[in-house]
């Protein structure tokens, strides 16, 4: 393999203060362009794993390489820069900022990356077009349906052209029709080359993934 794997984790562990072990040593890798689903019962450590992959949390043991580079020892500012540039987050509860329009929500990560206003808004419009919401840029999240909000969320996650799209139960709050649409969108994005790792309970999504990582009690099953 010429390109490094998008994600390489070895013996990854996360022990919380008080001794609770959310992850007890997980080893796997996700190749660039792969579509992987993390599945498992509630409380098994899926979300902890996703947070570590998204550089929001740090492992207490083991190593995590993002695109071949070791993330241990990086400071908060470096992790933030890396997260901003290489990772897009999609949330179960969408987590759009309620006072910003759809367009502004999508443009926000680019603002944090320091892009100028005009190109930022241009790209945000293109992204909203891409997720099929080109006409709803001025709407606030409250004026959008659940499925639409999640599309905005995905567009926002793509804002800084991330190498890795992480999604935490992206269809958990959606009806089956919307879920199917969101899943189709993920598949398209994956087909265009985006690496996707998502946590899900939805067997349909699991079935669409190229690979399913099953987590149980902090270990890969």
């Amino acid at each position: 393999m010429s390109a490094p794997a998008a994600i390489t984790v070895e013996n990854l562990a996360r022990t919380y203060q008080g001794g609770y072990q959310a992850l007890k040593g997980v080893t796997f890798s996700v190749a660039a362009g792969e579509f992987a689903a993390i599945m498992g019962p509630s409380g098994c450590g899926k979300s902890t794993l996703l947070n570590i992959l998204g550089l929001l949390d740090r492992p207490t043991g083991g190593t995590y390489r993002l695109e071949g580079a070791l993330t241990a020892g990086l400071g908060d500012a470096e992790l933030t820069a890396l997260r901003r540039a290489r990772i897009g987050f999609v949330f179960q509860a969408f987590n759009l900022l309620p006072r910003l329009s759809a367009l502004e929500n999508v443009a926000l990560p680019m603002a944090y990356a320091g892009a100028a206003v005009a190109p930022r808004l241009e790209r945000a419009r293109a992204l909203l077009d891409r997720v099929g919401l080109g006409r709803k840029g001025e709407h606030t999240p409250l004026q959008l349906s659940g499925g639409e909000r999640q599309r905005v969320g995905i567009a926002r996650a793509l804002a800084n052209k991330p190498a890795l799209l992480l999604a935490d139960e992206p269809t958990g709050n959606l009806d089956s029709t919307s879920s199917a649409e969101i899943l189709a969108l993920f598949k398209e994005l994956n087909a265009e080359g985006t690496t996707i790792v998502l946590v899900t309970h939805d067997p349909a999504i699991g079935a669409s993934a190229q690979r399913v990582l099953r987590v149980k009690d902090g270990l890969l099953a």
Binding site: L56, R83, R99, Y112
Partner: protein, 423 residues
Amino acid sequence: MNAREALRAGVREISANKFRSALSFTAVSVGVASLLYTLAQTQGMKQALERNLELMGPGRMTIEKKRDYVSKGLSGGLTYADAVALRRELPDLYMVDPRSSYSLTVHYGGRKLEGVDVAGTTPDFRKRDWVYTLRGRFLNEWDVANRARVAVLVQPAGWVKKPFWAKFWGREDDYDKFAARVDVLGQRVRIVDSVYTVVGVLTPPPRDLDPRWDSWSTPNAFVPITAFQQTFGKGDASADLVDEIRVETGDERTLAARRRQIEAILKRRHRGEEDFEIKDQREEIESEMENMRKYVKAGLALGIVALLAGGIGIMNVTLATIFARVREIGVRRAIGAGRDDILAQFLLEAAMLGAAGGLAGVGLGLGGVKWLSGLGGTRDLAQPTVLHCLGVVALASAVSAGFALVPAWRASRLDPVEALKAE
């Protein structure tokens, strides 16, 4: 994120929490208004002091009869002769101006004016506190030497903008009404039963612009002190008495020495009786200024306390805002905001809240100062300068941002994972 966007986001957050924001900036605005008022007063006092001291001269003092002094019968009291002696013995005194005044009746063309304040004085009167415009001429040495029956009348001062209390207190007496209507320059008037020729008319500046400390005590008419004593004196030994002698050394450094010399001369002339007192007017004004400075300090303290209270209010609001937006902070961190972005966001919101409060306070303060000036009686209130206004607004935002520093810093240190779980 550029400044304009950040500002717009701030405005959006502030207006989304109107009540909370209004509460916190009320205190800030009161503080700012109070500071502004205090600044205006300080500025006004400084200007008034400077103008006064300039007009008054550097070495001014006033010799008066000592109050409640019972004479042992040795002294003839404070007299015109004392003034002449002072001028003779201390020729380097810049001004020696004896003055007496009575409230007298003036007749002109069949009109009888009661209670006209007539003062006997000398040409030295012109040397200090001269704020008048003169038509005709003022009294001269010849008039005094020859007891000339000449008078200089004073026009009523009037107002540029009449304060409301002047309607009740600013009594316009017979003389004022008369002098405002009739031009008597060159005419003869009868004061009690002596005929005087009006050789000059003085017009003082409008009352609200009069820089003098004691502008209210301007007499209605001036005549030579010698003629005054001859025509209005009682014709006995007390005829030579004067109310006061205004002295100016011309130099602040000689003030103390001259004062001692004057004391010695008068004591000798009064046969050891110390029936006079020498008042240093500068001292009086400066002590009054000192008193006012204390009030100003109190105002300053009040403003700062209110501003600090406002700052604490803003700290509270920032805490509440952050508490309500923990999840938002998590989301922002997840999509790429650094700690510094979060810190900057909340500091900026607080600073804007402070600036809004500051602007409201400037409005309040300017309105208040204008209103107070309109009431009159506060001629020592300068209009706040643009610099003052900008300064207090900047101070208000700085104080607010300062108080928001701790909550905002804590917000920036939130664990993004925990923050995302909030709510």
